[in-house]
Symmetry: C2
DNA sequence: CCTGAAATGTAGTCGCAGCTACACTTTCTG
DNA sequence: CAGAAAGTGTAGCTGCGACTACATTTCAGG
């Protein structure tokens, strides 16, 4: 007979903590897809096309890396592309990009609102955004409208 | 002759954006080490030892994964361990754990302060914490003392 | 309209973080 | 104190995201 999960002083319960870390890992694995979707949408909107080289330069990675990751987006139904013809977003990809872009803005705004300097806010938001849940996002929105 | 880097409407300049994404990638690669250090310190403080199985259960990963990652921490000079004898932190590891723990608390407190519900704050902080720079952290602290 | 530069694609390698399976050691317990 | 249970370690596999090197295709200037 195994002992019942005895809670430890100050620490969350074991399954609770495991679930939290697990969700964080999941969020992390979608982070790159989110950034690609957002960036591709931005490029399509501002310059009319999203070429692998441009994506790569903006992300600071090699073009080979960008191309491989775009292949993953295609596998996941977020993007389309044909050889030598640039990258586009599917409906799902555009929807993701829109959500991600709105969230990005909100996170930056919240950081600015609590006194974080502009460049730090932009920098940190790039990572933070991927870990902000809908509940938290709603709280940010409420806070900003107060 | 290559065209001068013409800025694009609404988008950050190319090198700026690349630098931001790069820093985010770097932060991400230290995230796991940070969580391990914090957790090992917590276990040592609360139950007196940090066994691979406990670490694994708390993180929600297999014990094999925990052991491999601890090996990486040892390589990086953050932890020590001997076969079948549990894991300990080096001075560097303890210093990291202390910083990480303080930052974790501050992030949760900030989220709570702007109206994020308790569980969402705890959950999201687990990922957010790894992307909060010192500048942002200072701003959080100032805000909380307003 | 040719040709060289730029972009694109592909192959192969690496480290990390996950997993399962299995072997071995330590600890607990009847 | 012997055997069972629990913990530990190792091997081998996967996918991802990064890289370099090289081959191929497109495209723009002369
Ligand atoms: Mn981002
Ligand atoms: Mn973003
Ligand atoms: Mn964390
Ligand atoms: Mn933490």
């Amino acid at each position: 007979m195994s002992r019942p999960p005895e809670p430890i002083l100050g620490l969350p319960t074991e399954p609770t903590q495991a679930r939290r870390f697990g969700k964080t890992r999941t969020a992390q694995s979608s982070a790159i897809a989110e950034d690609y979707a957002e960036l591709i949408a931005d490029l399509l909107a501002s310059v009319g096309e999203a070429r692998p080289t441009d994506i790569a330069r903006r992300l600071g990675v090699s073009h080979a890396t960008a191309i491989k990751t775009v292949a993953r987006l295609k596998r996941e139904g977020l993007a389309t592309s044909r050889p030598y013809r640039g990258v586009f977003l599917t409906e799902a990809g555009e929807a993701l990009a829109a959500r991600v872009k709105a969230r990005h803005r909100l996170v930056v705004d919240l950081l600015r609102a609590v006194g974080v300097p502009a460049e730090a806010a932009e920098q940190d938001a790039e990572g933070i955004e991927h870990h902000v849940s809908d509940v938290t996002l709603a709280a940010f929105e409420a806070y900003l409208q107060r």
